[in-house]
């Protein structure tokens, strides 16, 4: 989206245009909801609603371009996630046993990668990461946020965010390497056999 187009959209949303809000919601809600789900948010759709309502309340004070807006929305969603977790800390939250269906908003490369690894495997590896590692990786990947923005959102220093990202990626690689021999063993054997 060009800057002019985004500025027009933002101004319309500020004035209360439903069409503008529909466009903003459609563009961001699936990714934000995926982030909330991946981080085990209690009642993720409720948290999503709260996050967007806060965006609507504070949109008059926002200034910036589209990536800045995306980063801002994710920061709000992250804070609402932390609040929701705090409120739900005393009650047992039942996580959905099966990973939710992807929305199909990703590009071809992402779809290809997902086809190679598999949806269940992605969610399994994500679940093995620590909360902080998962948050940092998701904010970096889904929201395209810079190290500094992620650091502000999660309330850590940029150095700590870099370390979390590095450890998270190492854990992902380890898990993928552990899975590969099992998956590749038949193909290797098959190749030898041929």
């Amino acid at each position: 989206m060009s800057l002019e187009r985004f500025t027009t959209l933002l101004e319309a949303a500020r004035q209360g245009s439903e069409a503008a809000w529909q466009e903003l919601y459609d563009g961001l809600a699936p990714v934000v909801l995926g982030y909330l789900r991946a981080n085990n948010a209690p009642d993720p759709e409720d948290v999503l609603s709260e996050a967007f309502l806060q965006v609507a309340r504070d949109i008059s004070s926002f200034e910036g371009d589209e990536p800045g807006f995306r980063s801002w929305v994710f920061t709000i969603a992250h804070h609402r996630l932390i609040d929701a977790r705090r409120h739900a800390a005393r009650r047992l939250v039942e996580l959905s046993p099966e990973p939710p269906e992807p929305s199909g908003h990703a590009d071809d490369a992402a779809d290809e990668a997902l086809a190679r690894i598999g949806l269940e495997e992605v969610h399994r590896v994500l679940a093995l990461l620590s909360d902080d590692q998962r948050m940092v990786l998701l904010l970096r990947v889904l929201a395209d946020m810079s190290i500094e923005d992620v650091a502000k959102a999660v309330g850590k220093r940029p150095g700590a965010v870099k370390a979390l990202q590095r450890r998270g990626l190492a854990a992902v690689k380890r898990e993928l390497a552990r899975r590969r021999p099992k998956a590749q063993a038949p193909s290797k054997g098959g190749a030898r056999g041929q």
Binding site: R14, Q15, G16, S17, E18, W21, Q22, Y25, D26, A29, P30, V31, L33, Y35, R37, A38, E45, L48, S49, F52, L53, A56, R57, D58, I59, S60, S61, P100, E101, P102, S103, G104, H105, A106, D107, A110, D111, E112, A113, L114, R116, I117, L119, V122, H123, L137, L138, R140, V141, L142, D144, I147, K162, R166, L169, A170, V172, K173, L176, A177
Partner: protein, 258 residues
């Protein structure tokens, strides 16, 4: 989307080859479509909230603007306004004195005389000294000529009065005190019973029943009463020998009978 470099911030390049595929898979796997009912319900609410928020922000900015205008430093007042203020303040001074006088406060004599000069008599004030002094100035000669009416005593009194006036406002103060006494008469318990000396109708000690200023030992006065204070106006008593006649003791010597 999907162009965020993850390998530039300390991650090892060898790890990234494996992890990059996972990141791409994440982009495809994580986003999930929200419930369409939520969208239908939430979007109008978002629009309404944004509209209300925008209105509130505009109102706030208007208030801030008004406050900013109110907070701007005032222009220096014009000279005319300053003069008017000073004039009003000066005009209020006599009113303040008049108010004090009405309330029963004794106004300083300069202020009183200023009022007298323009023909205003302040209420609740002792007889104006200035009036008196002007009256005395006008009638000083006749008063002095009339002094022999009372003999030496009256003459002495007039002299004393004049000297008192010239000294200060002792007479005025005296009259003021009398006026206060008159006012206070009957207010305090016991005054009517004659217990308080000098405040009832009974003749105070040293007074002969005259309705004039109380006799002072140094005022000359009428010489009445039992005061033994020396006074030039007092008639010599019989016990006293005429001047220059009795050089010896006047008392009857022991052994002599009357």
């Amino acid at each position: 989307m999907g162009s965020n470099p993850v390998d530039g911030n300390g991650a090892y390049a060898s790890e990234m080859q494996e992890a990059l595929v996972f990141m791409d898979a994440l982009r495809a796997a994580v986003p999930t479509e929200p419930d369409p009912r939520l969208r239908a319900e939430l979007v109008p609410r978002l629009a309404g909230t944004a509209r209300a928020s925008m209105l509130e922000a505009e109102t706030r900015s208007m208030r801030r603007g008004t406050a900013a205008v109110a907070a701007t430093p005032r222009r220096p007042r014009s000279r005319r306004a300053l003069v008017a203020r000073v004039a009003i303040a000066i005009a209020l001074i006599p009113l303040v004195f008049a108010g004090l006088a009405v309330a029963g406060v004794t106004v300083p004599s300069p202020a009183r005389s200023a009022f007298d000069a323009v023909g205003i008599t302040l209420p609740n004030q002792p007889r104006s000294e200035s009036k008196q002094s002007s009256a005395e100035q006008g009638s000083q000669a006749p008063a002095q000529t009339g002094a022999p009416q009372g003999g030496a005593a009256q003459g002495g009194g007039a002299t004393t009065e004049t000297s008192a006036t010239s000294k200060g406002n002792s007479k005025a103060a005296h009259e003021h005190a009398r006026a206060q006494h008159e006012k206070a008469k009957g207010k305090a318990l016991g005054h009517e019973r004659g217990k308080a000396i000098g405040l009832n109708d009974a003749t105070p000690p040293g007074h002969t029943g005259q309705t004039g200023p109380p006799a002072h030992s140094n005022a000359g006065g009428n010489g009445g009463g039992s005061s033994n204070s020396n006074s030039s106006s007092r008639a010599p008593k019989a016990t006293h020998a005429p001047n220059g006649v009795a050089k010896g003791p006047t008392k009857t010597p022991p052994g002599h009978s009357k």
